[in-house]
């Protein structure tokens, strides 16, 4: 005990001395400490935001999944008769009961079919599962929660994700089912974890009992509504949710083999969680990248600050060592100084993230459609504090290590040994530069550590600028590239017809003066025998397609034995261009040669392209979709209505593709606009903080030099410009290199960010002009900030500068 007390008192005494030095250092560098604190506050805020988004936001999906006892695999099947439906039900029950992976399952009656409705000024298209309210809320597996209800007794409950100004309680929503437009009053909103959004592959719409019966009656009367009254909704819970993908593929394959004409839709846990959290992934990725880049800048600043301090206060350190302070006490003082600053900034910074989070949460809920209740999360908070404090501790330890080895006499001589090898990089006698430029350049060469700090900061900032330029160009201003990358093929109108009228349809549409081009672009499903169900696109001639960039490696399929498959899927299955795969179409297996890789995110990297001949070798087509390019100024809806009137029941549905794409992309535009604005503001703040620290340090270090120069007759303006210019060579150089390198690496980086949604190769245009302008503006803004911050020189008289007052 005595020994412990003795050690404690000894340690306490040592720390007290270190604390005294730390306080003294802190007093002398209040400005720098406040700036470091400001940067650490931003880093703390962003890191905590990222951790919340990354770890808890997705867990919210599981919380909801558990709450509603949701399924791991969902299968919606529509068949032609009640008898067939019972047979399918029996088949599925048998398969699921026998499979050891099944934990529990539930099947009930539901209608299933294709439809669309207007939302956010565009159209939402999906395979909808129509359930009646009582069935929906009482399903033992895959229950649907009513999150907002009303007194309305007749109408529809819409998924929460579509809640908007147009789709609100009491308002009417028009749902197009096949060629029929159904008008329903919105009674409330639902939370369906597995089918609560159109990007889940299937989407559940809950109808009140009367409306459900009405729809079933219409479907039963043979109305061509692309909806079947004989539908089954099958929900399966698995013992291990990791099996969901294979289980889903197995169910589909078996069903398709036995009932090739059945309409089958569905999804599984991993696909849905990925689909519903695309925005969260993008947002979390960007926030984490920014957080770590700014942390890097903060650490470089701290290291540079310490190294500068040691350089400038060598004599003082020598005195401290001479009077008996140990190296550890001096190092301890630096640790106390920077750790206390970091802690006082990181804790409020992490707390501040809870003030910012509601804005991000609102944006995210509009993307995921799953309500998230914000609450304090101690683990991300502690991880944030731990990471940042640890990083600062290691940085200080590394930067200050030199002090430990420093001999007092060398320190007292102000490390004079180090001066002996000083080089004169800019000799005024020889240099062909104006005097102020030459003197500025001299300062630049004499400030290697500052230059490193500037370069790292500017490289980070330029990467962010290049990213914002690319996003602005390809998403915010002109969304076509983004849409081509995400959606694949886009056109004006898509019309689904019955196979029997194909020739007549083509003849009439081709003759229509409003039409520019009509080509086959039809969807079907095929099964990769060793893998999963792929969403197939059937084409006649790839040269007719508007987007030739869908293929990112190899080429489109030309012949009937060729197939192009999703690059992400191919990578996962270790398949390359030139390999052969066995594909089952309508239950018949055939071998196809892989001609190329596609990149479309619609199916989250589970898609393929086949020629019509290639598909028809084994498959059968009852319906087919033609894409139509219309001449500029043509009203797409009017054209579609004309076609519906002309071909009547032989048209199963029309889509205004423009409107659909617009509605789907709007959220991305909004998200990206917010991200770009955020990171630009953040970049300016980071530049300003870094420059403030550097200028302040420089003015402190060169106070006497500027005093001497003022006495020699240099004006304040000359010194301000000289000081500002001295920072510019590393600024300009790192901006040029940074923008060049960023322009080269930005697409691969974006591909990494978007890899979760099936992007393997990003093909965004890199706007060279915009990036050059950004570079020039950055350099100018930096120079102006430097001049602004250097204006302190003005306040000091030469006499005061000389005497260091």
């Amino acid at each position: 005990m005595k020994s412990f007390l003795h050690s404690y008192l000894k340690w306490g005494g040592r720390m007290k001395k270190a604390f005294i030095i730390a306080c003294s250092n802190f007093r002398k560098s209040k400005g720098q400490m406040i700036s470091i604190a400001a940067i650490m506050l931003i880093v703390g805020m962003m890191l905590n935001l990222w951790l919340i988004l990354q770890f808890d936001y997705k867990k919210n999906f599981d919380r909801n999944h558990d709450k509603l006892n949701a399924e791991h695999v969902m299968l919606a099947v529509s068949v032609n008769s009640e008898k067939e439906r019972d047979a399918v039900r029996k088949l599925l029950a048998g398969i699921m009961e026998r499979d050891g992976r099944t934990d529990d399952f539930y099947m009930d009656e539901a209608m299933f079919g294709y439809g669309s409705f207007e939302c956010n000024g565009g159209a939402i298209n999906s395979n909808f599962i129509y359930l009646d309210r009582e069935t929906a809320v009482s399903r033992p597996i895959g229950q649907i929660e009513i999150v907002e209800d009303s007194d309305e007794t007749s109408g529809v409950y819409m998924p929460f994700i579509y809640k908007s100004e147009d789709i609100a309680i009491g308002k009417e929503v028009k749902i197009t089912i096949g060629t029929r437009e159904m008008c329903y009053t919105v009674c409330g909103f639902t939370n369906s974890v597995m089918a609560g959004s159109n990007n889940c592959s299937v989407c559940e719409l809950v109808l009140t009992e009367d409306k459900y019966k009405e729809l079933k009656k219409m479907a039963g009367q043979g109305e061509n509504m692309l909806v079947s009254e004989n539908g089954i909704l099958c929900s399966v819970r698995l013992k291990d949710k990791a099996d969901c993908e294979n289980y889903y593929a197995m169910l589909q394959n078996k069903l398709r083999t036995k009932y090739p004409s059945a309409g089958i839709g569905g999804n599984y846990y991993t696909m849905v969680i990925q689909a519903r959290y695309i925005s969260q992934m993008i947002c979390a990725g960007i926030i984490s990248a920014m957080a770590f880049l700014i942390l890097l800048i903060a650490l470089v600043i701290i290291a540079s600050n310490i190294i500068n301090y040691i350089q400038e206060n060598m004599k003082k350190l020598g005195v401290l060592k001479a009077i008996g302070y140990t190296g550890n006490q001096i190092i301890g003082a630096f640790q106390i100084q920077f750790l206390s600053v970091s802690l006082t900034a990181v804790i409020p910074g992490a707390s501040l993230s809870y003030c910012i989070f509601p804005v991000i949460n609102e944006m995210m809920i509009s993307q995921t459609g799953i309500p998230y209740q914000m609450h304090f999360l101690p683990v991300p908070f502690l991880i944030t504090v731990g990471i940042l404090v640890g990083a600062v501790f290691l940085t200080v330890w590394t930067a200050v290590g030199r002090v430990k080895k420093l001999e007092p006499i060398i320190a007292l001589r102000q490390g004079i040994q180090t001066h002996n090898f000083k080089k004169n990089h800019v000799r005024l006698e020889q240099v062909r530069l104006p005097l102020n430029g030459a003197l500025a350049l001299k300062t630049t060469f004499g400030s290697a550590k500052n230059n490193v700090t500037i370069c790292i900061s500017m490289l980070v900032v330029t990467l962010v600028l290049a990213f914002s330029a690319v996003v602005t160009e390809n998403v915010i201003f002109d969304i076509d590239t983004f849409i081509n990358m995400i959606v694949g093929e886009t056109t004006d109108s898509a019309i689904n017809i019955t196979h029997d009228i194909e020739d007549e349809f083509l003849q009439i549409v081709s003759a229509d003066e409003r039409v520019e081009k009509v080509y086959l672009y039809s969807a079907a499903k095929v099964s990769h025998v060793d893998g999963e169900i792929l969403e197939a696109t059937i084409i006649d001639n790839y040269e007719e397609l508007n987007n030739q960039n869908v293929i990112i490696k190899g080429r489109f399929p030309k012949y009937d034995n060729e197939i192009a498959i999703a690059a992400k899927y191919a990578k996962r299955k270790d398949i390359d261009v030139g390999d052969e795969i066995v594909v089952a179409i309508d239950g018949t297996e055939g071998t196809y040669l892989i001609s190329g890789f596609t990149q479309v995110t619609n199916q989250l990297g589970l898609d393929c392209i086949l020629t019509r001949d290639g598909y028809m070798k084994f498959g059968h087509v009852n319906f087919m979709t033609y894409s139509i390019n219309l001449k500029d100024g043509t009203d797409v809806d009017a054209f579609n209505t004309d076609m519906e009137a002309r071909f009547g029941n032989n048209i199963n549905g029309t889509i205004n593709v423009d409107a659909v794409v617009y509605a789907g992309s709007l959220v991305y535009v909004q998200l990206m606009t917010m991200i770009v604005i955020g990171i630009l503001i953040l970049s300016v703040c980071v530049i300003a903080f870094v420059l403030y620290l550097l200028v302040r340090t420089r003015l402190g270090n060169k106070k006497q030099d500027y005093g001497i120069m003022k006495s020699m007759g240099f004006t304040t303006k000359q010194l301000i410009i000289q000081n500002s210019i001295s920072f510019m060579p590393p600024v300009i150089l790192s901006t040029i290199i940074g923008l060049f390198v960023s322009s080269v690496v930005i697409n691969p980086l974006i591909a990494v960010f978007l890899s979760g949604i099936g992007i393997v190769k990003s093909t965004f245009r890199v706007p060279v002009g915009t990036i050059i302008v950004e570079g020039v503006v950055t350099v100018i803004i930096t120079f102006l900030i430097l001049c602004f911050m250097s204006r302190k020189i003005k306040k000091l008289s030469p006499h005061a500068l000389l005497t260091g007052e």
């Binding site: 000083k422 005024l428 005097l435 001497i708 020699m712 008289s797």
Partner: protein, 252 residues
């Protein structure tokens, strides 16, 4: 009749110290003449350096006027004062104040090129001045931390004289030097003065003060006495006695 280089009227300088005003210079009327080696003496805290920096445009007076030829320098802005200093003044400081990050040659050229854009002419003059103060060519590219104090002060003088200033202001130029190097510096100053360079020097060292031809004594911010010693001649003992008598009279 000597030409007046600089003239002050009612020159006052006050500082606020903890809310209490300290009047360091009080209504000083002073004329400095061309070619003179003026020495300002006085006890510590008498205001010698304050007077030097005020008349040289390094510091602004609280009251009064300072005229340099037809220019009222007390009315100039900071930037105008800077231009005035670079054209008309040279400074030698006790702490020398060379810029550590520059070579000796660059220390001098940075002042010279500020006024004269003809680089060759400036470099030639620098070399000429270096030679006159016994700074050899090998030292040109050395840095201030790599030379002795005496050498550094001589470089300081070269820098002060590079633009051929009308007045050379020296604030205790031997204060930080040992006896021999201090003597060398004084010899150099005397030599330049003999060549027509006007010098105003602040010192509290009698050995240094003997070099001046005009001695002003400052006490509590007021010039209380003036003594004319005539042109300096080496070994002139009468000069020493005259100065001693003057200083005794002033209460030194």
């Amino acid at each position: 009749m000597q030409n007046i280089l600089l003239k002050t009227e009612n020159l006052s300088k006050s500082f606020s110290n903890g809310g209490v005003m300290q009047h360091v210079l009080k209504n000083i009327d002073l004329e400095l003449y061309q070619g003179d080696f003026t020495v300002i003496m006085g006890a510590s805290g008498a205001g010698k350096s304050t007077l030097l920096y005020a008349v040289s445009g390094m510091d602004t007076p609280t009251l009064g006027t300072i005229m340099f030829a037809d220019t009222e320098i007390s009315a100039l802005s900071q930037d105008e004062l800077a231009v005035f200093r670079r054209k008309h003044c040279g400074f030698v400081f006790q702490q020398i104040y060379l810029i550590d990050g520059m070579s000796l040659m660059d220390n001098v050229l940075s002042a010279g090129l500020l006024v004269n854009k003809d680089k060759k002419a400036v470099v030639d003059r620098a070399k000429e001045l270096f030679a006159s103060v016994d700074i050899s060519e090998e030292l040109y590219e050395k840095f201030p931390t790599q030379i002795s104090g005496g050498e550094a002060q001589r470089v300081g003088m070269v820098r002060a004289l590079i633009n051929q200033p009308e007045i050379l202001f020296a604030d205790e130029p031997t204060g930080a030097l040992n006896s021999q190097t201090g003597l060398d510096v004084l010899n150099t100053l005397t030599e330049f003065n003999n060549q027509g360079q006007s010098v105003v020097m602040v010192t509290h060292d009698m050995r240094s003060a003997r070099r001046g031809n005009r001695i002003l004594y400052l006490k509590d911010g007021v010039i209380t006495g003036e003594c004319n010693l005539g042109t300096y001649r080496h070994g002139d003992m009468g000069r020493h006695e005259k100065l001693s008598a003057f200083l005794s009279e002033m209460g030194w």
